[in-house]
Amino acid sequence: MSRPSRGVVFTESLAQVGAAALFLFSILGAIPQSLRHLRETARQIWFVGAMSLVIIMTCGLFIGMVLALQLYYTLSIFGGTAALGTVVALSLFRELGPVVTALLFAGRAGTSITAEIGLMRATDQLSAMEMMAVDPLAYVVAPRFIAGIIAMPLLACVFNALGILGAHLVGVSWLGLDNGTFWGNMTASVDVWKDVVNGLWKSLAFGAVIALIATFQGYTTPPTSEGVAHATTRTVVTSSIVVLALDFVMTAFLM
């Protein structure tokens, strides 16, 4: 097996991007039809959202705690530990909440979506559906896509809330900051629209991107066990890169 030349690799990845974009349009086209399968969508929200709660909550708590510790150290150099609540809340809402949730979501839910759809492809279940005049895009792909878009912002909110509680735990209960200062400075500088909703837009976009990549990789996987394995890996790698790149672009625009 000879190594493909650079030009072929480039053309190949360009074709993947184009195919993913076309796939997005066919999902969007299948969404009206998939509204008849609302129960399936609800089941997918349960699967990608509710089942991810434990990891999201645990990680949110620890991220909040470590953020409080690190920022306390940094702020104490400038004698500004009173701003701990503000800094933790702003970095969580604007940046870490959506991004870390998206990375965890890609690892927890994205992989299982890819593996599930990939196995359906490998075991010809998708073809069987087509034979029975059931559009797999409407019955399998679109519900998972919608579920990803709905679940991501909710998970990011839970992550943020637990992060704030973790920071409060470390900052107030452990490091002895004043409770009133912690909340007072936070509520004085955090804005609903500029900070909380800004993070929500990000997590919405990340949810759509991850759901698209996961379903696309699963749907187009080579129907072998090796193909499914590679597709799952590609889901995590591609989602992480795209999420971080998109995060930069969105931050620049939403500033």
Binding site: R39, A42, R43, I45, W46, G49, A50, L53, A89, F93, I150, A151, P153, L154, L155, C157, V158, N160, A161, I164, W183, M186, T187, A188, S189, V190, D191, V192, D195, V196, L200
Partner: protein, 175 residues
């Protein structure tokens, strides 16, 4: 089967509920909306020649205790001074009408707030009244300027001679 379907439906509902509860918590408890929780308030006006960095919703304090917030800041077109509307909790409605208002800074670099200094008049401030005794924000630039000018006696001489020295040396520069 029905039992299983029921349980995931309940779980999905719980998850969505939890997500929105977290959002509501973030929006109301950690942001500036938390400061809106005020019951009945009354509004009094105060004029300042300089409000410094005073912002909307900045706290109003009596003896260091928060009693209200800044409702609006506008420039009076006639007198050209800042007209600030103070929204004060109705529980503190028996403020004497000769109370003073001053703009202070919390800490060296903190945010600015309005401090009310209660007077001794038997009449109380009513909704729409104006506080006459006001003290503007302390501008750190003005303080530094005053300090530099009145620092020591020989300084005025040197500062006075300073402008002449550059003007004397300036004509050769263009050539």
């Amino acid at each position: 089967m029905t039992q299983q379907r029921r349980s995931f439906q309940v779980g999905t509902g719980l998850f969505i509920l939890l997500g929105f509860a977290a959002l509501a918590y973030l929006a109301t408890q950690t942001t500036s909306i938390a400061n809106y929780r005020e019951g009945a308030t009354f509004t009094v006006k105060a004029r300042f020649t300089n409000i410094g960095q005073l912002k909307l919703r900045a706290p109003i304090k009596i003896a260091g205790v928060r009693v209200g917030s800044i409702k609006s800041i506008t420039l009076d077109g006639q007198t050209l001074d800042a007209l600030v509307e103070l929204s004060i909790d109705s529980r503190y409605s028996d403020l004497p009408d000769d109370s003073g208002a001053a703009i202070f800074t919390s800490g060296l670099l903190g945010d600015q707030y309005v401090a009310l200094q209660p007077g001794g008049s038997p009449d109380v401030l009513k909704d729409g009244d104006e506080i006459v005794l006001t003290q503007s924000s302390m501008q750190i630039e003005d303080l530094i300027g005053k300090f530099l000018v009145s620092g020591d006696a020989p300084k005025p001489n040197t500062t006075a001679s300073e402008p002449t020295a550059p003007t004397g040396s300036e004509p050769p520069k263009p050539q």
